[in-house]
Each structure stands twice: as structure tokens, then as C-alpha cells.
Symmetry: C2
Subunit: 430 residues, 2 copies
Amino acid sequence: MMRRLDTRSATFADDFAALLAIQRELSEDVTAAVAEIIAAVKATGDAALADYTKRFDRLDLSTMPVRVSAEEIAAARGAVSDEALDALAFAARRIAAFHERQMPRDERFTDASGATLGWRWTPLSSVGLYVPGGRAAYPSSLLMNAVPAKVAGVGRLVMVVPAPDGVLPPIVLAAAELAGVDEIYRVGGAQAVAALAFGTETIRPVDKIVGPGNAYVAAAKRQVFGSVGIDMVAGPSEVVVVADRTADPDVTAADLLAQAEHDEAAQSVLITDDAGFADAVAAAVEAQLETLPRREVAAASWRDNGAIILVGALQEAVALVDRIAPEHLELAVADPETLAGKITHAGAIFLGTMTPEAIGDYVAGPNHVLPTSRSARFSSGLSTLDFMKRTTLLGIDRGALDALAGPAMALAAAEGLDAHRLSIAKRIGR
Amino acid sequence: MMRRLDTRSATFADDFAALLAIQRELSEDVTAAVAEIIAAVKATGDAALADYTKRFDRLDLSTMPVRVSAEEIAAARGAVSDEALDALAFAARRIAAFHERQMPRDERFTDASGATLGWRWTPLSSVGLYVPGGRAAYPSSLLMNAVPAKVAGVGRLVMVVPAPDGVLPPIVLAAAELAGVDEIYRVGGAQAVAALAFGTETIRPVDKIVGPGNAYVAAAKRQVFGSVGIDMVAGPSEVVVVADRTADPDVTAADLLAQAEHDEAAQSVLITDDAGFADAVAAAVEAQLETLPRREVAAASWRDNGAIILVGALQEAVALVDRIAPEHLELAVADPETLAGKITHAGAIFLGTMTPEAIGDYVAGPNHVLPTSRSARFSSGLSTLDFMKRTTLLGIDRGALDALAGPAMALAAAEGLDAHRLSIAKRIGR
């Protein structure tokens, strides 16, 4: 049964702590199995990749090249409806336009000492994109990862996607083509991550691996981190909806269920200052669950992880939201801007009763890859910056060296690093 | 014996691959020991912290409060020479000035659909800074981590530093005061990392942990990652010096030794187009090693990991540098800007013969915490951004919703997420 909390209850502090403490993630320990797969791919490359693909995906790579051909991609495009293709193109354009605004600027300046300082941003040379297989192969997630990489200027964007029984969803290939993916390989799991990290005879290695995946993929990303970069390892999705009586209970219920239908581990929380509204939303959730196609998933999520928190005044929501640090925060209130200005921790904020999270999930432009499980306290959603790196620059002449040498040599001496001191002293003849 | 390579040699490809493959890091497996320490601190807080501190640092925390007092800090300041204090203040000012330029801008715009989009940067609320103990307690590293955090606006900057036998270097406390550290605790090791991540009775938890440490500290950071953010786990330091005959061999030798003296695992590589210059540098290294205080460390590093690569033309250095992706790159050549413009992968570039890395290590302003072990391919040095996070913002009204609803609902339908579709449809009466 979904939890009901009330800030005016004597047990609220404990109730809220219990809500925060819900363990939503299964911690399946696949570390050893994944380590074995990675070692095999490192040792025998394509042969290991083929073995695991036969075993896990029932696909014989001797009957079909591992790389997806241009002809297959064209055929996939032809198999997708014009409406879906147009929607993907619309989304890709808007995602690109938003992420272009995140392009960082280089800096170069000369300071009073005469030193020239600055930095330069460059795109990563190559990026691997993991796309989950089967029903979890969401084309929207593909766009959210691939489009920012291409906006950043990544030269070689390599996608891996498992093809269980040899089948790839046409819409995934169509989305990859639209996003400008350069190479597509029909492999998945830890073996695909290992191939991206260390390379095989047919797949050249990449510098960073991004994209969602199951426990094996997540463990593999953790294990190859260091050899290559990785994005964050995402947990189950979550939304907090703060609503006052200006919101519509039926609409609010749909927003809560849109999160709940993702996954039984997803979490939907409503915070409201209106007890009648809270009851109406709870009833609307139950009513909508009756006919929802994914009702089993959504009902389990709402039952196990869902909550309605009644507050005495809307201002109380601020501290609660910051404790939760939600991935998504909907402010379905009369004055969302004022409330938004007081929130410190949230991955993305959706302002006002006419802004469903689903618009942001698909077409608004901001990235839908966002920090989960309270990590919005210390991290941000995916952005153009995740596909770039910064090199700092320093140039000094003899005059600037004279100005900076004294304190630098004093610190080198204090740290007992004499060669550091000498590398300066020898230049200025001391 | 330090390696000599020549791009015109028949074995160069193999020689260079062997250079890249040197294992410089000891992979001490402390995973299980660290997991036990973290579990103990989580379970019993201050009691476990005191136990481990007694065992590892020979310090009885019942005789001395875990928090370092204002009086101790003032006394430490009094024990440091004016020259060193002035040098620290000089460095802190320059680091702050450089990192202020990295403050990101918020964005807010309304697009053609009528949607309001943007993002907001906010500082992390609290950050923990690990400072190694004993001789590795470098005040310059403390400034490089703490000053950017304060520039970013971190409200609560908490430092932990082990005090073996109860002793803390005065210059470390003085540097912490200068940098604006808010709380200092005399604990270290995995137990201090656990205390920062999960809190104890006396140490409130933080949102992110940064700073260098030994194998236990690195393993502890990896294990608490997710509950809190962490910075990159740094490997041994390295420099590539590209020099032509305009450089001074004796000065170049000092630059190579400045890196080598850090650590036996450090790496110094010279790339030059002049065989006579290469010989002169090799001889100068040997000569300087005779009198260098840290000659045992520097000689071991140079012998095991050092290299001189002779190239036919300076342009060949570009591809080699990009394969190495060095943490530090000195371009001690007549035209450093042209060469720098061709380099893709480097943490920091030092331009020209008058720019020793040591100036950047201490006082120039750019951060000296930089990506090691080829990770400059996919990551950047520490910056103001590492102490901030971004919240994206989206607000739409009925008009914008009408413009965006169709493609969003089409994608929701394609992904089989009906509650997503409904959350939009219910708002527009479809």
C-alpha cells in the first residue's frame, strides 16, 4: 500500500526517514561473472564476443556480420511509420538546439604578471553508446545520448545493441541513423562493453562509454572505468510532484503513473498542502491503473515505493524536496518560479501545471539522462560537456617567470621538492 | 636503464607500445579490508573512528578532540615562516582568480514553440577534502582542491587529515585556514572517508569527497561512490617534454627530474628531434641526480619509467603525445603555440622554454589536479565545475504544449509507455 505521510504527524520524521531509506535497487552481484567476460574478450577478441553472443543472445555471428550494414539501416528506416520518424526528427532537432547552447567557451588571457593563461575544450575522439536490447531499447534514450555527443563534435560514435535471436527493432536503427551514429554493432552485455573498452579485431576501442544497461552492463562499465571514461551508472527513475489545489487530480495521477510504469523500482511521490486534493489523486491513480497497459509494473511501483506527503504549507515542500534530491521535480503550483528558486537539489524542474515530465522525456530539448537516487546533490544530467574535455594552457616569459618564481620556489622548498625548485632556479640563473 | 626510442628504428612501433604498457601502479587489493572499515564506521560511528585512529595513527582520540580547534590553527599559523605564508597566500589568490573565470553561466530562453528552457548552476552544499598525512601532506594540493570549492560557493568544506602520533604539519593547517576550510578533523584512511560519506556523531556527512590518498583512501572513495560523489582517483604523475635545440639541456633535465622526484611510479618522457640534445639531457639528468635530495626516488622513476624518444621531425611528436595523452605536456620549442594547436589529448600544456611545470604546480592559477594514466583522452583537470551541479528547467504553457504534444505522444506510443502519453493527452483534452 502506497505510503501516506503528514508533516504534522508525531511520527513524520521517522516516516520520512523510512521513505528515504527504501531500497529500490536489487544489488545482484555479478562482479565475478563480468570480470570473467571482460578477461575473455581482452584475451580472444571477436572469438569471445561471438561465443557470448551465441550463448546470451542466441545469435550466431558467423551467419551475420557483427556490424550492422547500411542496407539494414535503410530497410529499418523504411519499416518505421512516417509519424514516428517525424517525431524522432523533431525530438533530435530540439535536443540538438538545446545542447548547442551548452557548448563551452575557450578562454585565454594575460594577467598582470605577464603570464598567458587559459584553457581549450576539445571533443572526445571516440565514444561508445550502449543501447539495451528488446523492449528496453528506447529510441528516445538513444537520441538523448547520441545527439549531445555529435553536438560536442565527437568524431566516432559507436553503438552496440544486443540483437536477441538476431532481431533489432527498426526504430532503434532509424533513431541511430538520425542521430548520426557512425558504427553499429549487434552485440550487448558485458562482452560489448569490453569490446568497446579494449577493442577486438573488428571493433576499434573508444575513449568513453555511455548509455543505460542491466546489472551486467553497469558492472562492466564500473570495471573498465579508468581504461575508458564512463557516464554515471543510473538507478531507477523517480519523480516528486509538488501540487497545490490549482492542479488537476486526474492529470497529477497520470504524471505519477508515467513514472511508475517505467519499472517496479521507480518511485513517484506527491507533496501537497491540500488533503482533499491528495485523496482525489490517490483515487485517480487507482482508477487509471484499471486500464493502464503496464498496470502490473505501475501498480507495484506505486504500492512499494509511492508516497503522498501532506504538508501544512507549500513552503515545507522545499526542505523535503532537498532531502529527496529527486531526479525529476514537477512544480504543479500557481507560482512555480518562486518555489523553484528555493530548491537546491533536483536533476530537472518542470514548471507549472501545463509542463508534464513526459514532454521533457521526449521532445523539449533538455537531457532526460538525469541523476537518480539522491545523486542530484552532487551531480548533473548528461550534457554536451560530458563529451568534451578541457586542456589548461600556461605560457610565461622571462618577465612573468621573475614575478612568479619566488613564491613557487618557497613552496617547493616547503614541500621538500628540490628538483621543482631547481627547474625554476636554473631558468632565472639563481 | 632509461629507455631510448627512435621513430626511425625498425622496432619503434613495438618499443613505443611497450612504453605505453608499463604498469606503474601497484594494484594492492585492499577492497575487503576497506569494506570492513566502512561497515564498522557506518555501524558505530565515532567509536570505530577512534579505534582505527588508535590502531593506524597511534593517536588516542579520548585525549584530544577529533576536531582541530581554532587555537591550534592559530598556533600553526604562528609556527610557519612569513615567507611560506606569503607564498601560500600568493598562490591562493592566483588560484582563486583563475577558477573564478570558470564559473558557469545560467541560461534561460524562450523558443519558437513558446517553451521556456534553461538551466541553473548551484554549488554543492558540502564537500569533504581528504589531505594525506605525514610527508605527503602537500599544502599546494590542499589549495588546489579547497580554493576552487570555495570559489564555487560550497557552504561547508570539511577537511580530514591523519595525524600520525598526534602530529599535524603546521603548514597544512595554515593552508587550510587560508583556503577557507570550515572544519578540520584529525582522522585519515578509509575510516575518515567513511565518516565523511555516512557521518558519525561528531562529523556530519558531506555530498562529495575529493583529494588524493593512498590505496586505502582510493578504495574507500570507490566504495562510497554513489552515496556521495567523488573526484577522479589519480594515478602516478607524468610529464612529456617536447624540446628542440632552442631548449637548454640542463633546464630540461631539471624538468624531467621534477616529475621523477614525486614518486618512483612517476614518469618523465622527453621527445626531441635533436640527437645531440637528447644525449646532453641524459647526461644532465645523471649529473643532477648526484646531488638531488630525493635522488633515490627520482633515479628509480627515471630508470624504470623514463624515456627519451628521438623523432625525425618535431611534427612526429603530435601523434606520440596524443597516444600518451599526458597529464603534463611541456612544449620547450621555438614555436610552442603552433604545436599546441595540433595536440588533442593533454591535461595541461606549458608553452615555451620559460614555462616550467613547477610554476603551474604551485602558483600560476590553473589546477594541478589533472588526469593521469592516459585519462586526458576523456577527462579534465579539477575545476570550479566539479563543485557545482546543474538543474535543467522547463516551463510550458498551453500553447507550447499544443506545439510539442504530437511528437511526444507519438514517441510515447512507439515506446509502449501509455501513462506517458496520457499525462500529455489529459492536459490537452485528447
